[in-house]
């Protein structure tokens, strides 16, 4: 019987990895992937909690997270395509017009 | 524990044996002969009776061909792709039942490899993984044709997955379970779903063709446009892997179609009777149950295979935009409408 805490810790680890990636990488897609990773670790946490609390609400929330993630992916990737059309790059260091 | 292990592996072996060992090679042969028939030519008829041994020759040929890997290819992914192609194809059929729950040595054994709660759902999920092999193959070969093929494949498979899944959902709605066994039982109790949901079946059929990249949807490997599509660069066993996985996928989907819409292993209740009758002559009942059920199932599947071949050699290929339009603007709305319709029928007590 694996204690739920392990799952939680694993999720935390994955989340950390995801954050690190999102913060350090420059390739837009990779950053996006890292964000997905974070989302999934959150899902894992939620499911773990629903297991811990014997309450399926957590799973339902995950369900919604999946849907939202789908929407987010669609729009985000569309954005990348649009950006790429104009700038011929999705390197975040080069997409830096938003400044003084 | 041990018994379950044995039982499961036994069922697995049966499936692998029947599907890999028998049907797939047979299909290759059928495809060639049938196409020949349609095109009014003899087809392979030298090797063995009616050229039945032709598949063996093919396999041998594949084995001894040179295995080429393009220098500019992304080696790891290049090698990975075929494996990914075979895996889902081989795993999906574990959810398809080939007989009722029987009693073996005083234990209840369901004649389905995996009794997972999420049966069909998992099946679809794993099947959806099949796309990666094509995409990766297309990308790893580092060749514009393969890349185009890969891109097309990804777009096409995703698009038609929707229609297919929705059709399946429509089937599952009245059944109220993800177990294909329950689907079969439901059809036993009522009638074949092809009669209950003709539209759903039609959608599933079309989606099936698209999911297996068969004509008229074989754009990922449209030889006239992309040479060989995503597997242009592949040769020898790697190519065979793609080749096989395509046929296995076809078989699995055919079996799935048969199970969803044509009563699966059931034959208007005759399956059990025949089995008991045979058991009366020789052997255990559970054995015959499995055997007859499998026979019925494979027969139905084979019918679909023939349909596959027939369609392939009958219809021209779609244009890519036509494909997309069909998928998104025709099939998807129809599938949704179908689902809603079924739901309404259920609520109104018709189904």
């Amino acid at each position: 019987m694996v204690p739920v805490t392990w799952y939680l810790l694993l999720a935390a680890l994955l989340f950390t990895i995801g954050t690190a990636g999102a913060l350090t990488r420059r390739n837009g897609i990779t950053i996006f992937l890292s964000i997905e990773l974070m989302l999934n670790s959150v899902n894992l946490t939620l499911v773990a909690y629903s297991r811990l609390l014997e309450d399926q609400t957590g799973q339902i929330v995950v369900f919604f997270v999946l849907a939202v993630a789908a929407a987010e992916a669609a729009v985000g990737l569309a954005l990348f395509i649009a950006v790429y059309r104009h700038r011929r790059t999705i390197d975040l260091n080069r997409i830096n017009l938003l400044r003084w | 524990m041990i018994f379950d292990l044995i039982a499961t592996s036994a069922k697995l072996l049966v499936f692998l044996g029947v599907f890999l060992g028998a049907i797939t090679p047979l299909m290759v042969w059928v495809e060639r002969r049938f196409s020949a028939l349609i095109q009014d030519r003899p087809g392979p008829n030298r090797l063995g009776p009616l050229g039945l041994l032709q598949p063996v020759a093919d396999v041998l040929k594949f084995m001894f061909k040179e295995d080429v890997t393009p220098t500019s290819a992304d080696r790891f992914l290049y090698l990975l792709a075929p494996v990914l192609a075979v895996l889902p194809a081989l795993t999906t059929f574990v959810f398809i039942p080939f007989g009722p729950t029987v009693e073996v040595a005083g234990r209840q054994v369901a004649l389905v490899v995996s009794g997972a709660d999420a049966g069909v759902l998992l099946l679809l999920a794993i099947a959806s993984l099949g796309v990666y092999s094509l995409v990766l193959a297309g990308y790893a070969s580092n060749n514009k044709y393969t890349l185009l093929g890969g891109i097309r494949a990804s777009a096409q498979l995703i698009s038609y997955e929707l229609a297919m899944t929705l059709a399946v959902v429509a089937v599952l709605l009245p059944v109220g379970s993800f177990h294909l066994g329950d689907v079969v039982a439901y059809q036993q109790a009522h009638a074949w779903n092809v009669l209950l949901q003709p539209l759903g079946f039609f959608l599933f059929l079309i989606a099936m063709f698209a999911e297996t990249n068969r004509l008229p949807f074989d754009l990922p490997e449209a030889e006239s446009e992309l040479v060989g599509g995503f597997h242009t660069e592949y040769s020898a066993m790697r190519f065979a892997a793609f080749f096989m996985s395509e046929y296995i996928a076809m078989t699995t989907l055919s079996a799935l179609a048969a199970t969803l819409y044509f009563g699966g292993w059931d034959l208007f209740g005759y399956t059990e009777r025949i089995a008991t009758a045979l058991a009366g002559v020789v052997g255990a009942e559970w054995f015959w149950m499995g055997a007859v059920g499998m026979a019925v199932l494979t027969t139905k599947a084979m019918a679909f295979m023939l349909l596959f071949v027939w369609v392939r050699w009958t219809f021209p290929r779609f244009r890519y935009d036509q494909l997309m339009r069909l998928g998104w603007k025709v099939l998807l709305p129809l599938a949704l409408a179908n689902t809603v319709l079924v739901a309404i029928l259920i609520l109104s007590g018709v189904l």
Binding site: A22, L23, T24, I31, N96, R99 | -
Partner: protein, 660 residues
């Protein structure tokens, strides 16, 4: 029809809306139809309601709640009240108002371009709405809304020719002067609300009548509550009704179009103060001191304005000061507790003063804008209707028997005399004489003698169109007949035909033994004076008036060879004439004593408080923000990852804070 009471103010407002929406592009005829039609409808409804109300055997006040403004136990409701008092006001306002609207069509028609024409009617209808709210409201707040509404319209219409300097200035003056009064009014209202938790007339007055002691107790500044409130209200009244010390705006208000002067600054709005005092008579009866003050101020104003009036050459100015002085009369009456007399005079005055103004308007029209009487004369030949009606009005205001003014003025003087306020009586009498004098000075200068204007003015002279003369005639009838509703007992021994008096009795109920006087009291007292004395007083009044007229005739009568641009009076009165013609330099004195210091003070505030303190704060804040921005902008590298990093670090810190 009483159930349609709410329609009466609503209809003119519809006129406002429709005309405002139609805009200046609408055909002139349509604008006229709307602008005059809706007040007309309102008049019809009003007459219907009045008829039904008056013909009841025992008229019970009609109250009509439109909607609840402030809920709760201290509820303030927008509700209308039709009782004898508001009935009289309602009649005057709608009737005179309507005819002045009609007159306006002829008066404004030619001169105004269409935009200002439409604007004019929008304003005028809006005024009707506000005025009707004022008189029909069943509580002080609704009255105040109307009060402010008429103030606004007055401002808008005085400054109607906003492209000229004088009218604009006059408008501002009127508005600002009125603010002072309104402020006092508000204070009074708050005091009432604080004490009674309601502003409904019925509630407040009911409570007081039940227990007069409630308000007679000491309240503030050594005044009883009644005195305090009434004082506040009276100050408000002095603002609206142009009494000393706040009368200065009314003469300037003549800068507006003449019909406006007739309607707002003679007939209706300026009488609002009187109406208010009478409305709150219950309180005034319990505040004898203030009442006396009111009477005094009224008398003083009457005298002062009359004296100024005799030295004015601008026909409208004459009428303006006459208005002020007549208002003084009304306050004199109200102060003496002869509330019915005050309202009576208000009614008659509305007729003959409106008539006078409209007549002067016709004259000014004929003179193509000329307002100086010294260059008029002999107009009788060209515009007989105007001349006759003007003359009737003049006779009426002078108090010649059988004309309306006679009866109402007589009531007031009688009230003064019967209460032994002989000083006030004398002042009133003298003023009456002056009134007669300056009115007929105007009549003779304008209509009598030879024409003193330029040739081409003479060439243009013409009688006003029917649309203007008709109202003149109608009002003339009123100027004669309006008096017959209140014939004093004294004149008809053994009979009591003083209809208005009895009509108003329910409103002017007696309160508290201590308030001995009051309309009823006046009548009672009248019997204590012997009939002979009464008659002789009346005779004296008549004689005074006649004398005034004769004097005027001796100065300005036909064949006195008046010369354009000169006033024979100037020679006779010498220095005093200058004093009068400069209106005792009141405006200048105010300018020195009030306006200058105020302006200086505000300039100081502007410089110190606004310029240094407030702006200082603002600039500092702005500077800090700018500084922060200058520093902070270096964090916006434009690289999204950096932003995310800030965000992330913040989260981590928060989390750490939560965990530990």
């Amino acid at each position: 029809m009483t159930q349609y009471l709410w329609l009466i103010p609503l209809l003119p407002f519809l006129g406002v809306v429709v005309n405002a929406v139609l805009g200046p592009r609408a055909p002139k005829g349509l604008t006229t139809a709307v602008g005059v039609g809706f007040p007309g409808l309102s008049l019809v409804v009003a007459l219907g309601a009045l008829w039904q109300y008056a013909t009841q055997l025992h008229p019970a006040a009609v109250e009509q709640v439109i909607y609840t403004w402030v809920g709760g136990e201290t509820s303030i409701r927008v509700a209308f009240l039709l009782d004898p008092l508001s009935a009289v006001m309602l009649f005057v306002v709608t009737f005179v108002g309507f005819w002045i609207h009609v007159y306006s069509v002829g008066y404004m028609g030619p001169e105004a371009d269409h935009y200002s024409y439409q604007r004019y009617f929008v304003y005028l209808n809006l005024f009707m709405t506000s005025m009707l709210l004022l008189v029909l409201g069943n509580n002080f707040l609704v009255m105040f809304v109307g009060w402010e509404g008429v103030g606004l319209c007055s401002y808008l219409l005085i400054g109607y020719y906003y492209d000229q300097d004088v009218p604009a200035q006059a408008g501002r003056k009127a508005f600002i002067v009125n603010r002072i009064g309104d402020f006092a009014f508000l204070v009074g209202m708050f005091a009432l609300f604080a004490k009674f938790g309601s502003l409904d007339y019925s509630a407040v007055f009911g409570a007081i009548s039940d227990n007069p002691a409630l308000v007679t107790g000491d309240y503030a500044f050594g005044l009883s509550f009644a005195s305090f409130v009434t004082l506040c209200f009276f100050i408000g009244a002095t603002g609206k009704s142009a009494q000393i010390p706040l009368y200065v705006w009314l003469p300037d208000a003549m800068a507006g179009p003449t019909p406006v002067s007739a309607l707002i600054h003679a007939a209706t709005m300026v009488t609002a103060g009187v109406y208010m005092v009478v409305r709150t008579n219950v309180l005034y009866q319990l505040a004898p001191g203030v009442s006396l003050l009111v009477a005094g101020v009224g008398a003083a104003t009457a005298l002062l304005a009359a004296t100024i009036g005799i030295a004015q050459n601008d026909i409208k100015k004459v009428l303006a000061y006459s208005t002020v002085s007549q208002l003084g009369y009304m306050f004199l009456a109200a102060g003496l507790g002869a509330y019915s007399a005050a309202i009576f005079h208000l009614g008659t005055h509305a007729f003959f003063k409106a008539l006078l103004f409209l007549g002067s308007g016709a004259v000014i029209h004929a003179m193509s804008g000329e307002q100086d009487m010294r260059s008029m004369g002999g107009l009788r030949k060209w515009m007989p209707v105007t001349a006759w009606t003007f003359g009737i009005a003049a006779l009426s205001i002078s108090g010649i028997p059988f004309f309306a003014g006679f009866f109402s003025k007589d009531e007031i003087l009688a009230a003064a005399a019967t209460q032994g306020h002989w000083v006030l009586w004398a002042v009133g009498l003298f003023t009456a004489g002056l009134t007669a004098f300056y009115m007929f000075r105007a009549v003779f200068m304008t209509f009598g003698g030879q024409f003193r204007g330029t040739e081409e003015q003479k060439h243009h002279l013409h009688e006003a169109p029917a649309v203007m003369t008709l109202p003149l005639v109608v009002l003339a009838v009123g100027a004669v007949g309006a008096g017959w509703v209140g014939i004093s007992k004294v004149l008809t021994p053994g009979h009591d035909w003083n209809w208005i008096h009895h009509w108003l009795e329910p409103v002017i109920a007696q309160v508290g033994g201590e308030a001995a006087h009051g309309g009823e009291g006046a009548a009672e007292a009248a019997h204590h004076l012997s009939l002979g004395v009464e008659w002789s007083l009346i005779a004296v009044a008549i004689v005074t008036a006649v004398v005034g007229i004769l004097v005027a005739r001796s100065f300005y009568g036909a064949g006195r060879g008046l010369v354009a641009g000169e006033d024979v009076l100037a020679g006779r009165l010498g220095g005093f004439y200058r004093v009068l013609s400069h209106k005792y330099w009141v405006d200048e004195i105010y300018g020195k004593l009030v306006i200058k210091p105020l302006a200086a003070l505000s300039r100081g505030f502007f410089k110190v408080v606004d310029g240094w303190i407030i702006d200082g704060f603002l600039h500092t804040a702005a500077f800090l923000a700018e500084l922060g921005g200058d520093l902070g902008r270096f964090t916006t590298t434009g690289n999204a990852r950096n932003y995310v990093l800030y965000f992330f670090v913040g989260i981590v810190i928060l989390l750490g804070w939560i965990v530990f």
